[in-house]
Amino acid sequence: MSKTTEVTKDITILFAGDSGDGIQLAGTQFTNTTALFGNDLSTFPNFPAEIRAPQGTLAGVSGFQLRFSSIEIFTPGDICDVLVVMNAAALKANLKQLKTGGIIIANSDGFDPKNLGLAKYPASVNPLKDNSLEKYKVHEVDVTKLTKECLKESGLGIKEIDRTKNMFVLGFILWMFNRDMDNTIKYIQDKFKKNPAVMDANIKTLKAGYHFGDTSETFTTRFQVEKAQLEKGEYRNIMGNQAAAIGLIAAAERSGLTLFYGTYPITPATDILHELARYKNFGVKTFQAEDEIAAIGSTIGASFGGALAVTASSGPGIALKGEAIGLALMLEIPLVIINIQRGGPSTGLPTKTEQSDLLQALYGRNGEAPVPVVAAYSPSDCFTTVFEACRIAVEHMTPVFFMSDGYIANGSEPWKFPTADSLPTIKAVFAEPRNEGDEKYMPYKRDEKLVRKWAIPGTKGLEHRVGGIEKEDITGNISYDPDNHEHMVKTRAKKVENIADSIPLQQIDNGKEKGKLLIVGWGSTYGSIKAAVREAIEEGYDVSHAHIKYLNPLPKNLGEILYNFENIIVPEMNNGQLVKVLRDKYLVPAVPFNKIKGMPFSAAEIKEKIVETLKK
């Protein structure tokens, strides 16, 4: 049987199965291989809330979407070309994501009566058998049986054999897209080095999957996606939370400070803790506290002691930290608060993405409590932006919010990583020791930016007291004086406003400086907006895109930019938050465009909105 190879520019695959099926692992391995090959790529893992939701049910479906291409891309794809499903529930939950004419690769064993029942297909209905999938190219593969067959002499138990199913699928997909197995084999050898039997089994199954593609008669077409023409340089693949962790270490190195990371586990922020806990060789101190209040408390203590202190959580934990953020603000010490947002309110949608904590970051504290806020817009941008959060915190002696969300935290993309030397240095200004006879230390004396010095314990002659009670200007003594209070509130606000002098001006990401329509986004909507606006411009629409990274203080020129457009649309994965801020601050008729489904916008959704607005 002869096989043909079809060259294509851009492929989106969705791997879906039970959360126990090893789907995420297969997806990640394929991603790494395709990254090494030199494709542009973007991934989107989609987890169920329960680690092991009942097997075979719709609630238990875990997905890993990967888009890779020879052209530049910005999103993990609106719609899939290939859908790999390990069972009936996975098909049912994801079929709407597949394009007409798309390929389905179905593990036929996952479509037995039991699985069909669990997926809530009516009795005696099997979508693989009833022609309901006519619009697609369906390939049934009995992965379970083939895996068993391949390992029948391995001496492994049924359960262990079953666990290698994902490798069969991975091997097959590698074949289908003309990728070699070396990288995955290396990974397996490393992962199971202590268990040779399991290592061999996984490699064997992987190869079996690959060769199955070669020999099976049903598959006649392989696909080839050439290398992408990205900017020249050296690349690696990176996930958002990983980038944030590395960014923190880089900031510690470039400021000469010790990184202290105090946190309490919560999805989807915990992976930063996992990552940092591995970097003891960088002197990183991680502290798993008893709750989020203790977590931020510990970082306030560490910061008071002169460390680069960082705490992280998601919405519910950030809510608990509110009072302490106010304290850090009164103490005027550096602190980075990471919020990896998820669906809210309350426990909300723990594993789904949302951007609904912007107003919490901006306003969610008692009293007049301004805190700088920056937001990352893509997985690799988490590095740059968290680094920037550290810079602002240290150089302006203030708590700073770094916002990310589940979508970019778990998503990945190629990253043209910087060298250490190319990163800016962060300058911590410590108060100098004093000798007897020197004048008394004034802890709340400020420089021209209104920033006070970092006066850390252990420094001779700097003994002083700080606290949450309003303090007298300059001396820092307790003061209930009405004029002083007003002065201090204004001073703290001005201090944050002054940060606008040290941040870049707002750029138009794409499109003209002046025109009919401006799409204003923040955070993880970047890729979808970028792709949509690019397409619309190509088609002749008068639309531009600006993406705000600095949400407080806002860039100084943002008003001018907004005033240059007749219409402003603000797409957000919330019920309209940035749009409120823009309307309030600039009195512009900005219009919200919301999606609150725990899923990112597709580029098509935004494009449609652009077209609809401009056609009116």
């Binding site: 050296e234 990176i238 060789n281 960088f282 203790a294 977590a295 408390g297 560490a302």
Partner: protein, 342 residues
Amino acid sequence: MSETIEKPYTAKDLETDQDVRWCPGCGDYSILKQVQKVVPELGIKRENLVFVSGIGCSSRFPYYMETFGMHSIHGRATAIASGLKAARPELSVWIVTGDGDALSIGGNHLIHILRKNFNVNILLFNNQIYGLTKGQYSPASEEGKITKSSPMGSIDHPFNPLALCLGADSTFIARTMDRDPTHLREVIKRANDHKGTSMVEIYQNCNVFNDGAFFIYTDKETKAVETLFLEQGKPLIFGEGKTKGIKLDGFKPVIVDLTDGTAASDLWIHDETDRVKAGLLSRFFDNPSTEGHLPRPFGVFYTEARYCYEDALVDQITTTIAKSGKGDLNKLLKGGNTWTIA
């Protein structure tokens, strides 16, 4: 901690220029004075001293100590001190807290700092009332306490603070009181000498909202019979003219009269390292109005040598670096797998 200090300082040097604002007659004054008196004897550089407090009358304490200090938020001093100590193990960190601050809003952080065993000193000013908010019952107030928030008497069963701390695997627990300056200083010294979290409960009179809560332990007429001063290796003896002792009948402490010929050698000998006995001692907590009640112990109940959190934390870092070298940022940025686009 016995580092050499260039220039010794005195109690006077530890006073700040701020007016002390506790109510006249408040027990906090005496504690402040004794702390200022004893700290210069501990051999700690003044710039290495940090007092961290929560919120409450007692928590104003750092403002009156010419050291580094932080008056933080309600209940969280323990958490803040943990982070400070983790970041800067060489500092001498002191936590000042009240019964509401430590046992109510900060209860969670208290038990966790105890089990983690940071090398810090906790001074818990127990006045069995919320002083700063003007007199509501606290988790240390006795059942039936009439306060503004419990006009018919409190229906809350109180904590036994030291039993709680022992339950959280505290490595040092002691009790003292505002009105016994010598004992107070002695216990603070012992607390500071202990490596690990030292929990010192200090009975403190709030003369405005809970006046006399501890008078039976401080008044001349009752002090001798109601208090039991613990000394390492010494029998448990108390009472007017030291005429009473405590003996163990199995696990049951019984009061014996030393005048009827019971020998001191038959008595319970105090051993600070005995966890079981410390548990029994912490339960000498009867309401003093009950017939045949045991006296209230003061002094060091229990000490245990256990590794401190910050030491283990630093140790993991130094062993990692010794084994595999200091981290290289360029390598970290690069990660495992890269590709080049030419």
